[in-house]
C-alpha cells in the first residue's frame, strides 16, 4: 500500500512539473521570437518628404489610461484621430501594445511586472510615479537620452527644456539622463489667498494685507456669523494636515507657515546654499505657536487633524470656509459644488498678506508631471521618428497658425462653423473630447515662458496675436473663450499668483529616496506629525519643537541632510 501511495504522489508531482515546464518554455519561446524580430540598430537618416517620414516608421509603446480621457466613434488609444493623423501626416505609426488604467495604479503595477518578468520593453512609455521611474532607471534597461536629445530635438523643444534645467534632475543617474521630462505649466499651482468675497462684503471688511489684518478678518469670520444662519458654525481658515502639511492642491498650508518664513516637509537651500529640511527651521516654531493660538480662538476647525483633500473640498462645498489656499482652479472645483447649493457664494483670489518680518513663502509644483522612458534597444529609426513626432507638436510655439493641429482636433476639441469656433459640448457631434490626451505624453506640449505670457495676456483680457494664441494649440484651444465664468476666475487667480512669484519655493530634492530615508523617514515623519499636531492642539507647548528638532537630527535627520546634499551636488551644474 505504501508503494501505491508513493506512485500516486510521484505521478502527481511529475504531472505538475510537466505543466510548469511547458508553461515556462512557452514564455521563453515568445521572448526569442521577439528578439529575432528586432532588427539591430544602424546609423541612418530618415527620408522625410514634406514633414512625412517615408516609409512609415512604427513606434511601439504601452499606455496608462487617463481617467479623464474620453473617446468617441468607437476609438481607442490604439486607433484614434490622433494616431491616424500622426501616421498620415508625420509618417509615424504609434503602436500601443497594451493600455491599463492609471487611476487604480494598475498601469504602474503592470510596468513593474514588465520589468521584473524580464519581458521585452516597448520602444517607449510614460511613467508618472517616481518609484517606478527609479526602478527602471536602476535596471539599466533605459537609453541615456542626452545624446539623442541633443541630436534630434528641435531648437524650440530644446529652448523649452533649457528654461527648466531642474526638470531633468530626477532622471539623472551617474551624470546621465535616463528619461525625458514631460513639462507642465507651474504658474497657478501656488496658492493665492482665497476669500469668500460675499462674506467680506457682508461684514464690510477689506481683504487682509498683513498678518494683523488677517487675524481681524478671521475673527470676524467666526464671530460675526458671516453666513447669517444664526449659528457659530463657520471656519475662518481651512487647510489639510491629516497626513502631510504640504501637497494638498486645495487646502494648501504652505503659505500659512510661509508667513513666518519656512515651509515644512520641503528641501530648499538655506543661507549657505546647502539644502535644508524646512520642518526643522526655527521659524516653524513661531508658526506652530500662532496656529495653535488661532485654533484655541476657534478660527480653525476643531477636527483639523482629520482634514485631508477630500474633507477640505467637502467643507468648501458646504459653504463653511472663509479663507484657504488652493490652486488657481479652486472655483471650478470644488467651487462649482458650493455654487450648486449656495449660488451667491463666491471665492475671490487675493495676494498673500505680508507675513511676520516681511516673510512670505509658498510651495510651487515641480515643472514636470512625469517622463518619457526610452528602451535602450530602440531602433535608430523609431528613435528619430519619436523626435520627429515630438518636434512637430512643439512647432506650435513657432507657428502663427492656431489651427496647426486641425487635422486631429477639428470635430473633437472644437468645431469651426461659419468662421467661428465652437467649444460647446452639445454642438460637437459625439461630444467634446480632448485629443491632447491621445498624444504620447498625454498632455499639451509645454514651453513655460511662452505659455505663461499668453495665459497672462488672456487673463488681462488683452488681444492675443496669432502667434501667442498658437501657444495653446496642442491643448485644443484656438481662440479666446470666456464663456465659463469659473474659468475666468481661474485666469484672474493666475494673474494674482504671478505678482508674487518671488515667494515660490519648489522642491529641490528630486532624487530617489536615500538609504537613511528608506530606513528612517517613516520614523521622522511620524515624530514630526505627532509633535506638530500636539502643538497645534495645545497638548504640548511650542518648546516641544526644540526637542523635536534635536531628536530629528540625532535619529537620522543629519545623515539624510548629508545624503540629500550629496545628491544635490551631483546634479547641480
Amino acid at each position: 500500500m505504501g508503494k501505491k501511495r508513493r506512485l500516486f504522489t510521484v505521478s502527481l508531482a511529475t504531472l505538475l512539473l510537466l505543466t510548469s515546464l511547458t508553461a515556462c518554455s512557452g514564455g521563453n519561446g515568445n521572448n526569442k521570437e521577439n528578439e529575432d524580430g528586432d532588427g539591430k540598430a544602424t546609423e541612418s537618416k530618415l527620408n522625410i518628404v514634406n514633414g512625412k517620414i517615408e516609409p512609415t516608421v512604427t513606434i511601439t509603446m504601452v499606455r496608462g489610461e487617463d481617467p479623464t480621457a474620453t473617446f468617441k466613434n468607437g476609438e481607442t488609444y490604439e486607433n484614434n484621430v490622433h494616431t491616424r493623423w500622426a501616421e498620415e501626416t508625420l509618417g509615424v505609426k504609434l503602436e500601443t501594445l497594451w493600455s491599463s488604467p492609471t487611476a487604480d495604479t494598475s498601469y504602474d503595477t503592470k510596468l513593474k511586472l514588465m520589468l521584473s518578468s524580464g519581458e521585452k520593453l516597448p520602444d517607449l512609455f510614460v511613467s508618472t510615479q517616481s518609484n517606478t521611474t527609479n526602478m527602471f532607471i536602476e535596471s539599466g534597461k533605459l537609453l541615456d537620452v542626452e545624446e539623442a536629445f541633443e541630436k534630434y530635438a528641435s531648437d524650440t523643444w530644446k529652448a523649452a527644456m533649457a528654461e527648466v534645467p531642474e526638470a531633468w534632475h530626477p532622471f539623472i543617474k551617474d551624470g546621465k539622463k535616463f528619461a525625458i521630462p514631460i513639462l507642465r505649466p507651474t504658474m497657478g499651482t501656488q496658492s493665492p489667498l482665497w476669500i469668500r468675497q460675499d462674506w467680506l462684503d457682508k461684514l464690510n471688511l477689506k481683504a487682509p494685507t498683513t498678518l494683523e489684518e488677517l487675524e481681524t478678518v478671521m475673527d470676524a469670520f467666526v464671530n460675526q456669523d458671516p453666513d447669517g444662519n444664526g449659528k457659530k458654525d463657520t471656519v475662518a481658515l481651512e487647510f489639510g494636515m491629516k497626513d502631510q502639511f504640504i501637497g494638498y492642491p486645495i487646502g494648501d498650508a504652505s503659505w500659512i507657515f510661509g508667513l513666518f518664513g519656512a515651509i515644512p516637509d520641503r528641501w530648499y537651500p538655506g543661507e549657505d546654499g546647502k539644502l535644508e529640511f524646512g520642518s526643522v527651521r526655527p521659524e516653524i516654531k513661531t508658526a506652530l505657536a500662532k496656529i495653535s493660538e488661532w485654533k484655541a480662538k476657534g478660527y480653525i476647525a476643531e477636527d483639523i487633524a482629520l482634514h485631508d483633500f477630500n474633507k477640505v473640498t467637502e467643507n468648501v462645498a458646504s459653504g463653511k470656509v472663509g479663507m484657504l489656499g488652493g490652486e488657481h482652479w479652486l472655483m471650478v472645483y470644488p467651487g462649482s459644488l458650493m455654487l450648486a447649493t449656495n449660488p451667491t457664494a463666491m471665492y475671490a483670489p487675493y495676494p498673500l498678506p505680508q507675513g511676520l518680518d516681511g516673510n512670505n513663502m509658498r510651495t510651487i509644483a515641480t515643472p514636470y508631471t512625469g517622463s518619457i522612458l526610452i528602451n535602450k534597444d530602440i531602433s535608430e529609426e523609431a528613435l528619430q521618428a519619436f523626435f520627429h513626432y515630438q518636434n512637430a507638436l512643439y512647432e506650435s510655439y513657432n507657428s502663427e497658425d492656431p489651427f496647426l493641429f486641425k487635422g486631429f482636433q477639428e470635430g473633437y476639441d472644437y468645431l469651426t462653423k461659419d468662421g467661428s469656433v465652437i467649444y460647446d459640448q452639445n454642438q460637437i457631434p459625439g461630444g467634446k473630447t480632448a485629443t491632447m490626451k491621445y498624444t504620447i505624453s498625454g498632455a499639451q506640449t509645454v514651453y513655460q515662458s511662452k505659455l505663461l505670457e499668453a495665459s497672462l495676456k488672456r487673463a488681462k483680457e488683452e488681444e492675443l496675436t496669432n502667434q501667442e494664441l498658437s501657444a495653446f494649440a496642442t491643448s485644443g484651444i484656438v481662440s479666446i473663450d470666456n464663456s465659463n465664468p469659473l474659468e475666468v476666475i481661474g485666469n484672474k487667480a493666475l494673474l494674482v499668483i504671478s505678482t508674487q512669484s518671488e515667494f515660490d519655493v519648489p522642491e529641490y530634492f528630486q532624487g530617489p529616496a536615500t538609504s537613511t530615508m528608506t530606513s528612517r523617514n517613516e520614523l521622522l515623519k511620524k515624530m514630526q506629525m505627532d509633535t506638530f499636531t500636539e502643538i497645534i492642539y495645545g497638548k504640548q507647548n511650542a518648546d516641544a519643537f526644540d526637542s523635536f528638532v534635536e531628536k530629528w537630527k540625532s535619529s537620522g535627520g543629519d545623515d539624510i541632510t548629508k545624503e540629500v546634499n550629496e545628491w544635490y551636488d551631483s546634479v547641480k551644474q
Binding site: M1, K4, F8, L12, L15, L16, T19, S20, K112, L115, S116, G118, N131, M135, F136, E138, S139, G140, K141, D233, K242, A301, E302, D303, A305, L306, N310, K311, A513, M517, T518, S519, N521, E522, L523, K525, K526, M529, D530, F532, T533, E534, Y537, S555
Partner: protein
Amino acid sequence: MQTVIQQETIKKKRERIVRRRDSWHLYLMILPAIVLTLLFVYVPMGGIVMAFQEYKPYLGITGSKWVGLDQFVFLFEYPDSSQVIWNTLRIAVLKLFFGTIATLTFALLINEVRKKWVRNSVQTFVFLPHFLSWVVLGGIFIELLDPKNGLVNQLLGALGFESIFFLGDNNWFLVTVVGTEVWKEFGYGSIIFLAALAGINPALYEAAQLDGANKWKQMWHITLPSLVPTIVVCLTLSLSQVLNAGFDQIFNLYNPLVYAKGDIIDTFVYRIGLIGGNYSFGTAIGLFKSVVGLILIVGGYRLAYKVAGYKIF
C-alpha cells in the same frame, strides 16, 4: 480488549485499501483542484524568500541580494515597533471580544422573535453595513463624530454633556474603532450562529418545557451549551486574525493625534513599505504576521480540544 481494537483497525485499513482501489476515478476528479491549489496557493509561497532579501523588482527573486534576517532585525529594532504591535493586539482582541458578545446576543435575541417579517427585515438591516466599504463609512463617521457640527456631539450637547472629539482622543478613538467595527459586522457574523441555532433538536426544548423550564433556563441550559462548539470554532479561527486590526477602518479614521493607540502594524507597513516601495520589509512583516497567526490558531485548536474537548477539523 486490546486485540479487539487491533483487529478492528486492521479490518478498517483493509476496507480503506479496497475503497481506494475502487475509487481511483474519484481521485482523478479532485486532481484539477489539487493542481490549482498547489499552483496558486503553494507555489506563490516561494515569494516568502523576499523577506530574507533586499528585493529589487528588476533583479527578481533570483538576483536580489540575500540579507538573511536583516528585515526582521529592522522590524524589532525600530523604535515604534513594540507600540504598534501592542496597539494591534489591543484593538484586535477588543474587537474579537465585543464582536463575539454582540453577535451572540443578537443571534439569541433574533432567534426568539417569532414574527417572520420582523425577523427578516431586522436581519436584513443589520446585515447591510457589512457590505459598505470603510472608505465610505470613514467619511460618514468623520462627519457624524465631528466635534463641533457632528450629529452625535449635537445630541450630547442637547443632553448637557461636553462635546467629545471621538477621533482625536486616544481612548475615545479605541471606543469608536471597536464600536463601529462591531456595529458593522455583528449582523453578518450572526449568520453562523443562527445556522447553529436552527440545528438544535427541538425535542430538547419540548422536554425542557415539560420539566417546567422557562425561556431563560432553556437558553442557559440548552441553547448556549449547544452553541459552544460553534463559538469555539469561530474564536479559534479568529485567532489567526489577531494581528489584523483592520487596515481599511483604521486608515480612514486615524490621524496623528491618535498614533499613540491607533497606529497598527498594517498602517505602519503602509507608510514604510508601500509608500517607500520597500517590498522586502512588507513581506517580512507579512510573514511575521502569518507565523504568529499560525501559532495562535494551532495553539487555540489544541486548547479547545484539551479544555472543551471539541475537535474542529
